[in-house]
Amino acid sequence: MKRTNLSTLAVAGVLALGLSACSDSTTAEGGKPSGKASGDVTVGFSVYDMQYEFFQKMEKGTREAVEAKGWKFKLHDEKSDENEMVTGAQALLDQGVDVLIISPFKPDALGPIVAKAKQKNIPVIIDDIGGGGTPYDAIVISDNADGGKQAADYLAQQVAANGGKSKKVVSITCEPSAVYAARRNQAFDQQIKDKGFQVVTELSGNSKAEEAYKIMKDALAKDPDVVGVFACNDPMGVAAANAIKDAGKDPVKGIVTVGFNADPEAITAIGKGGLSATIAQDPAGMGAKTVELAAQALNGGKLTYDDESKREVFQKVTLVTKDNVAQFAG
């Protein structure tokens, strides 16, 4: 039994030796200079979660922009996990990428990643979600607050057009930890209150369609005279619209239903009159913008920002309704 203990130590020891023996070989390659000539540039892109169509589009936009420059592209999928995010993004840095583009699952977990990149002198461009107060080189961000505001304006206008009898609206939020997405509902709530409406139900559907469906059903039982609903993302917006339909009401003419993201399911629903509107972000365009910023950073030049002080580059959001939905189809 004594040998078990020894062998445990031996395993650890072998690993340790292996590591310390190798550690000399790498010191040479630290501190890569920036301002590389194009041709042998590798761009590392750490993406939030490839299971979502939004990020699939973002990845496509980024990859195509990288390939158009004749650069190499390395993808890492964070799979909606902060541990995977930190481990994988740091691994990209270890693999010697020349620039890191990242759409962080948890912006607050960017610290150790950005710190490592700074140490290696690798520029970091953040794509959406948030920067977590780190010294990144640039962040491309959708204007979430503006989206929430546009949703409120459109909702108020449509309620008036429908001849809505009450001023009661419902606001369905994403999971409580999604602080940046929460700005959509915060801006919506503020704007809709300014227009004289009252948010009678505000609950988190945890970004899940199943939960949003139940919340909407319950909200309708509580206030049958609700005239509008805004959901933080499209799966929840479309689920709310389905709940409204199942309660025997119309999710456009009876209760104005607005989602966020312009996912295919929302576009389909708007086309069929099953959803009033959604707010389109342009993930592919955001991806292309990050690559442009990466090129500027690699050339050692100055980056062009929309907001110099926060190193922010804005990507506009667009209201999608039945009038312009055709542009977003396909």
């Binding site: 078990t4 445990t8 190798c22 930190v86 994988g88 977990a109 610290g111 977590g132």
Partner: protein, 361 residues
């Protein structure tokens, strides 16, 4: 001999003793099967490491190996304590909730009083969580499975309440803090979290093999009736196990949150299942009474290596799941086929069959 599997044999068992049961046990411990039980998963790990250059050219670099060891540590530390629990024929489903809660309170502790307070808060919160579980199981007599399933919701819920105005995080200005070093430092090229994990395995090994308490843990898992008959207090042992698990989560959370810098109620969803999977993959039987720390240790690294290989060779996340799930089933099927009829009381049926299958691993 090298096995830390199964109940410590009676002194006489080292040499063939007259009692047939002892003889059988001796034979079992020295068969290919027994060696496989302890070292099998380690062998798989070695094979995988040897094959890794074929699968990914980037794998065998120092930075990457450090990365795998660093990120495996928090899982490994809790898995060591969970091995104790599973050997004792119980388990703790609440560790994911504990990890989220401890990570949140640790960051709050850091904000309030720096590294020292953060470490203290981590350990205290972890032990407190464990004590609550232990009290439910011993004093209130709730079955462990359900008590810890319920507490999983409760711990996560409390973490959610504490972070309802946004996740707790370490600001970037703290980049030089000693707290960050817990997760980031390398000593002689070895990541500190991994060293903590090795030390933790050492401590659990000593507890299990060198103390009376450790023998009682195994004895109870192997035969509750016999253990009770010998006057072993079930309650005290169960309480201790849950507190040790809570403590391990406290330590693990330190290596986790100092690396990831942020936590909220949703942190590491499904952690409990990953921990139990590592323990079982390592060869510890869910029927209690036997288990191997070496196996758990290797299984944690195996999962880490496999995950790293799949990620770096660009395998789609959906296929990554399928591969990891299949590995788990295969490992269990090997174990399951071997011990299929080993349930207590079915020896008469087992033996002829065993003999026929004897050469099988």
């Amino acid at each position: 001999m090298t096995s830390d599997t199964a109940l410590p044999p009676a002194p006489g068992a080292q040499a063939p003793a007259p009692a047939t049961e002892t003889q059988r046990r001796w034979a079992r411990q020295h068969s290919i099967g027994a060696v496989w039980e302890t070292w099998g998963i380690t062998a798989v790990l070695v094979v995988l490491l040897a094959a890794s250059p074929l699968l990914s050219s980037d794998f065998l670099t120092v930075a990457n190996l450090q990365s795998v060891l660093r990120e495996s540590a928090y899982l490994g530390i809790v898995a060591a304590a969970m091995t104790l629990a599973v050997m004792n024929d119980t388990f703790d489903l609440s560790v994911g909730g504990q990890l989220a809660l401890v990570s949140v309170t640790t960051l709050m502790g850091y904000a309030a009083g720096g590294t020292g307070l953060a470490v203290l808060v981590a350990v205290v919160t972890g032990v407190a969580c464990g004590a609550v579980n232990g009290a439910l199981v011993t004093a209130m007599r709730v079955p462990p499975f359900v008590a810890t399933l319920g507490m999983l919701f409760v711990f996560r819920g409390v973490a959610y309440v504490l972070t309802q105005h946004g996740p707790k995080a370490l600001p970037y200005s703290e980049i030089g803090s000693p707290f960050v070093k817990i997760g980031g430092l390398n000593l002689a090229g070895i990541p500190l979290p991994f060293l903590i994990m090795v030390a933790f395995y050492g401590a659990i090994w000593v507890l299990l093999r060198r103390t009376a308490t450790g023998r009682r843990i195994l004895a109870f898992g192997s035969s509750p009736e016999a253990a009770r008959f010998c006057g072993i207090s079930v309650h005290r042992i169960r309480m201790l196990i849950f507190v040790v698990i809570g403590f391990s989560v406290g330590v693990a959370a330190l290596t986790y949150v100092s690396r990831v810098w942020t936590a909220d109620g949703a942190a590491q969803d499904g952690f409990e299942l990953r921990v139990i999977a590592a323990v079982v993959l390592g060869g510890t039987s869910l029927k209690g009474g036997k288990g191997t720390l070496i196996g758990t240790f290797s299984a944690v690294l195996l999962v880490g290596v496999l995950n790293d290989l799949l990620v770096s060779s660009g395998v789609d996340a959906s296929y990554q799941r399928i591969v990891l799930g299949c590995v788990l089933i295969t490992a269990l099927a090997i174990d399951g086929l071997r011990t299929r009829f080993a349930a207590p009381g079915s020896f008469a049926r087992v033996l002829p069959r065993r003999r026929r299958e004897a050469p099988a691993p």
